[in-house]
Structures are given as structure tokens and as C-alpha cells.
């Protein structure tokens, strides 16, 4: 397992509903990132289609495997990189049941998927109208160790990140489509999730304007002490490189030993009270 590796935060804007154009943009960014030494390239939530596609989601959703994942698997093989991107995933067993999914592929093909657990349906968001939530918090075994995936609003719920950490992830990837008015929340919460789990957290946000929503970008790699190691520009496309070095976790884990001090006995009480809210 590699202890130290380079990742690329590929902060793109999407052409909504145009999967071919978005795949082309993903290819361009992967090629550029590879030239700069990246072994893992991360794209935003629903980067295959754009975020605000509303009813067209039914036309755009694809199964996994499907034509878009096939193309991107070839890209990962050809460039020998790992890629994380977001897409509307059509369930194989149904014709219109869709998940908001993060996909991880590598040089050997498909590695795994994470289906967004917390679907915002408030303010300008209408995800529960279109998506079925996920029910699992898998971690994925890779040459970079175990990787956890979460999506956007999941970061507001510490238990999702915590579960992936407890299952052994040292790198949590959060792909996102966050509009500008919520920037402060994400800037705080990405750091909080990294600190409380002593973990690297790579946050990649969408940018561009969709139906009046301005996605703020500001993608970042956060270290296990909450420090922002690299950060992409606000409000415009950017490709930034960051280095993950798992050796940096140990001194932080000894300095602020949040995992050592975990108190599982509270978890059942937490469950009971959450049910009574």
C-alpha cells in the first residue's frame, strides 16, 4: 500500500445534460492531472450530467456498469489513474429508481460506488424527489489503502464519515455541488470531519452557474489536523494537486486522540434520542 501519493482536485463546471461533453472534460482533466503526477483524480457530485437537471434525470441516469462508466474505465486503464466522479445511477432492477452516486474506478476497472445517504430536500434542493437514498457506508480497498466516499450534504452528519473511518479509511473523499450561500458551512464542516476522525479529507465542489445557483468551488485537501493543505479557486474551474501522506496522521492521532477516546456506549443513547426527536 502506498503511504504517500498525489491527488488532483478537478473542480469543473458542467454542461447540463450533455454527458459526452462532460466526459470529454473529465478526460482532459485526468490527462492534465496525470502529467502533473496525480494518481487519483476527483470530480464533483453529478459531474457526469451537471447538478440541476430536474426531470431530465430520468433520461440521463445510467446503470453501473453502463456506457459512461465503460468509457471512464477505459480512461482510467489508459492513464493508469484512479478516478472519482458523480453520476445519477439507475438501479438495475427498476426503470426509474435513481441514486445520487459517487463512483471509484482504477487502472483495473470498477472498484466501487457510494450512494448518497442524506438527500437535501429543502431550500433550493429537491433531491428526495428524484433520488433514492443509499443505505451503506462502504470503504474501498485500493493501492492507497481504504478510501471512504461521501457526497455533499452527508458531511453535515458526522456519523457517515465516522463509519468510514471506523472501517479503516484514512482518506475520505467528499464530492459536492454546493451553491455559494452555504460556503461557510462546508469550509467549517470539512475541517471538522477531518479533525474528529484524524483523517485526510478531499473535498471537490462543482463550479459554474446552473439555474441561478452559483457553485462556489473552493475544493480542498484537508489534513488530519484540519489544516487546508491545498485549495482551488472560488467560483471558477481549477485543477489543483495535493499530496496525501498517511505518516502525517500518527502525530495528530497522538496529539488529539479522538479515535482512542471514542465512547461507543453513547451511540445507543444517541439512537434512542434521535428516534424520539
Amino acid at each position: 500500500m502506498k503511504e504517500k501519493f498525489k491527488i488532483a482536485l478537478a473542480q469543473i463546471s458542467c454542461k447540463r445534460g450533455d454527458k459526452a461533453e462532460n466526459v470529454r472534460k473529465i478526460e482532459d482533466n485526468v490527462t492534465k492531472a496525470k502529467k502533473q503526477g496525480a494518481e487519483l483524480v476527483i470530480f464533483p457530485e453529478l459531474s457526469l450530467t451537471g447538478y440541476t437537471v430536474r426531470d431530465q434525470i430520468y433520461e440521463l441516469a445510467e446503470t453501473i456498469p453502463g456506457s459512461s462508466t465503460n468509457v471512464l474505465e477505459k480512461l482510467a486503464r489508459k492513464t493508469e489513474t484512479h478516478i472519482v466522479f458523480g453520476m445519477p445511477e439507475l438501479s438495475e432492477k427498476t426503470q426509474a429508481t435513481i441514486h445520487n452516486t459517487a463512483v471509484l474506478i482504477g487502472p483495473d476497472g470498477f472498484i466501487g460506488r457510494y450512494r448518497k445517504m442524506y438527500l437535501p430536500t429543502h431550500s433550493v434542493f429537491e433531491e428526495k424527489r428524484y433520488f433514492r437514498p443509499g443505505y451503506q457506508t462502504p470503504v474501498f480497498e485500493t493501492e492507497f489503502g481504504k478510501i471512504g466516499l461521501i457526497i455533499c450534504y452527508d458531511v453535515f452528519f458526522p456519523e457517515v464519515s465516522r463509519l468510514t473511518r471506523l472501517k479503516g479509511a484514512q482518506l475520505i473523499i467528499c464530492i459536492s455541488a454546493s451553491p455559494a450561500v452555504r460556503r461557510t458551512f462546508f469550509e467549517i464542516l470539512t475541517a471538522a470531519r477531518a479533525i474528529e476522525n484524524t483523517v485526510f479529507l478531499a473535498y471537490v465542489n462543482l463550479t459554474g452557474v446552473e439555474d441561478g445557483l452559483q457553485f462556489w468551488g473552493g475544493s480542498r485537501l484537508v489534513g488530519p489536523n484540519g489544516k487546508v493543505l491545498v485549495k482551488a479557486k472560488y467560483n471558477e474551474e481549477d485543477l489543483v494537486m495535493g499530496e496525501v501522506n498517511y505518516a502525517d496522521i500518527r502525530p495528530i492521532e497522538t496529539f488529539v486522540p479522538t479515535l482512542k477516546d471514542l465512547r461507543p456506549e453513547f451511540f445507543s443513547e444517541l439512537k434512542e434520542n434521535a428516534e424520539k426527536l
Binding site: K15, V53, D55, Q56, D211
Partner: protein
């Protein structure tokens, strides 16, 4: 939540940047050649014109000055020209009086003393001019309605509010004033009393029965789900006044939406037909 004037403070630079980005992005995606807008010499259209020019360049923005005899105001025309000059936009002035007279004379039930119905013809006639220019020149119509008038329904349905985009519609009037100062709209435009100019002497605050400073705080409270009692108490105004504003706020929803229809088919416009702008 404390309802003090500071809740309406803006990070003007950030808001300006956002609005400019929004305008530029929309014009580019729609592949339009520019923007047409009504330039009345008032604060809202001055700010919108200025932001449009800052976003896409003044040479791509056409301000239409459309005065008419009854409400003709030399100062307003001077102000409109001042803004055009300062932000480098093109202008064209057309006296719409003859057009209005044809309208009035052609309507069998026309009643000149009904100044509201008559005034609405003026607003809707201007809309026809904007859209003619936009169609002819392959441009977009940019509206300048603010959030105070939008939420109180203080506008002419399908008239002054008609537009392809409305960049300042999420800003209350007092916030538009702050933004105006920030981007350098001349002070005399920022400080003069607002008027829709549908008839001579019409003043917005007089007609609404409330100052914008108070109105905006009431609307701000309603937007954040505050109760009328609480808003009245905090602003030290009569609850009846808050109730009156809230009634307008609720009742005017019909002016803010596409026309309502009844559900008959599978997907219905305005209800569950949900498409996005610029998808492929």
C-alpha cells in the same frame, strides 16, 4: 432574531460579483448578442443597467428611454442619460405618447379616470418595445424589479416585471440603494423617491403607505418565517401594518408565477413539469 437595519447589510463587492457573473453566464449560454432594458432614470433600472454594462460591456447593452406626455420628467431623462454615459451603454429614446393614445382610443370601455388601468397600459406598452428590440437585435430583456416590489406585488403584471432575467430581484430596495452607491450610481438617483410613474405625482412609499426602510425589515422577517406579532413588536409598529403587508405578500403570488392551470395531464406546467434552463 433581531430585526435591526443591519440585517439588510450587504457584502456589496460579493453581491456585485455574483450578479455580474450571473448576467454574463446567462447571456453567453443563451447566445444572445446583448441586453435590452428600460432605463427610467430610477434607481432599480440604473443599477441593473450599470451591472449589465459591467458584466458584458456597455456596447452590448441598450437602454430604452420611453417617456410619455403625462409623466414626462426632464430630470428622470437626464438621470437615465447620466447612467448611460457613466457606464458606457447605448441608448435610444422613443416618445410612446402617440402609441398610448392609439391604445386608449381603440378600447371601447376605456376610462381615463381609472388611472391604475391606464397606467398599466403604459407599463405593458414599454414591455412591447423592449421585446421588439430584443427580438429584432437578438438580445435579451433584462428586468430591474427589486425584491420589495416583487414581494408586495407592487408592479404591473406582464408589464415592468416582464423580462428574461431579473438580476436584482433577490435584493430589497434598501439593499439596491447600498449596491447602487457601491457601484457608483450617481447620488441624486440613489436618494430620489421611487416612483413607478404610471401617473403624475405617483410615489411608491406614499402609495404603499410605508417607508422602504420599515417595509424591507417586515419583508425580511416574513421571509425568515417570523410571526407578525414578533415583527411588529421588534419594529415598534402596529400589528395591523404588518398584517396588511403580509396579506399583500401572500395575495400577490399570482403575479409572481406562470398562470395557474388545473391538473389534467401527466406532467403540468407550473406544477410538476420541472425542467432546467440550458439543458441538452
Amino acid at each position: 432574531m433581531k430585526l435591526t437595519p443591519s440585517v439588510l447589510d450587504l457584502d456589496c463587492l460579493e453581491v456585485e460579483t455574483k450578479i455580474r457573473r450571473f448576467i454574463k453566464d446567462y447571456v453567453e449560454k443563451s447566445e444572445a448578442k446583448g441586453i435590452v432594458l428600460g432605463l427610467s432614470g430610477g434607481i432599480d433600472s440604473s443599477v441593473t443597467a450599470a451591472l449589465s454594462a459591467l458584466a458584458i460591456g456597455g456596447n452590448k447593452v441598450l437602454g430604452l428611454l420611453l417617456p410619455e406626455q403625462e409623466t414626462y420628467n426632464t430630470q428622470d431623462i437626464e438621470h437615465a442619460k447620466l447612467v448611460a454615459e457613466k457606464f458606457g451603454l447605448k441608448t435610444e429614446m422613443i416618445d410612446i405618447t402617440p402609441t398610448l393614445k392609439v391604445f386608449y382610443n381603440s378600447i371601447p370601455i376605456f376610462e381615463t379616470v381609472d388611472k391604475l388601468c391606464k397606467g398599466n397600459i403604459k407599463a405593458r406598452t414599454r414591455m412591447i418595445y423592449w421585446y421588439y428590440y430584443a427580438n429584432r437585435l437578438d438580445m435579451l430583456v433584462c428586468g430591474s424589479s427589486d425584491k420589495s416590489e416583487t414581494m408586495t406585488g407592487y408592479f404591473t403584471k406582464w408589464g415592468d416585471v416582464a423580462a428574461d432575467i431579473s438580476p436584482v430581484m433577490d435584493l430589497y430596495k434598501t439593499q439596491v440603494r447600498k449596491l447602487a452607491q457601491h457601484i457608483g450610481v450617481p447620488k441624486e438617483i440613489v436618494t430620489k423617491p421611487a416612483t413607478p410613474a404610471l401617473w403624475p405625482g405617483q410615489l411608491a412609499e406614499e402609495e404603499l403607505g410605508i417607508k422602504y426602510d420599515t417595509l424591507d425589515l417586515i419583508l425580511y422577517g416574513l421571509e425568515r418565517f417570523m410571526k407578525a406579532e414578533e415583527i411588529a413588536q421588534q419594529l415598534r409598529v402596529r400589528k395591523e401594518l404588518v398584517d396588511k403587508i403580509k396579506c399583500r405578500w401572500l395575495y400577490m403570488e399570482h403575479k409572481r408565477r406562470m398562470p395557474l392551470t388545473t391538473k389534467i395531464q401527466y406532467r403540468t406546467v407550473g406544477a410538476d413539469f420541472r425542467l432546467s434552463y440550458f439543458t441538452h
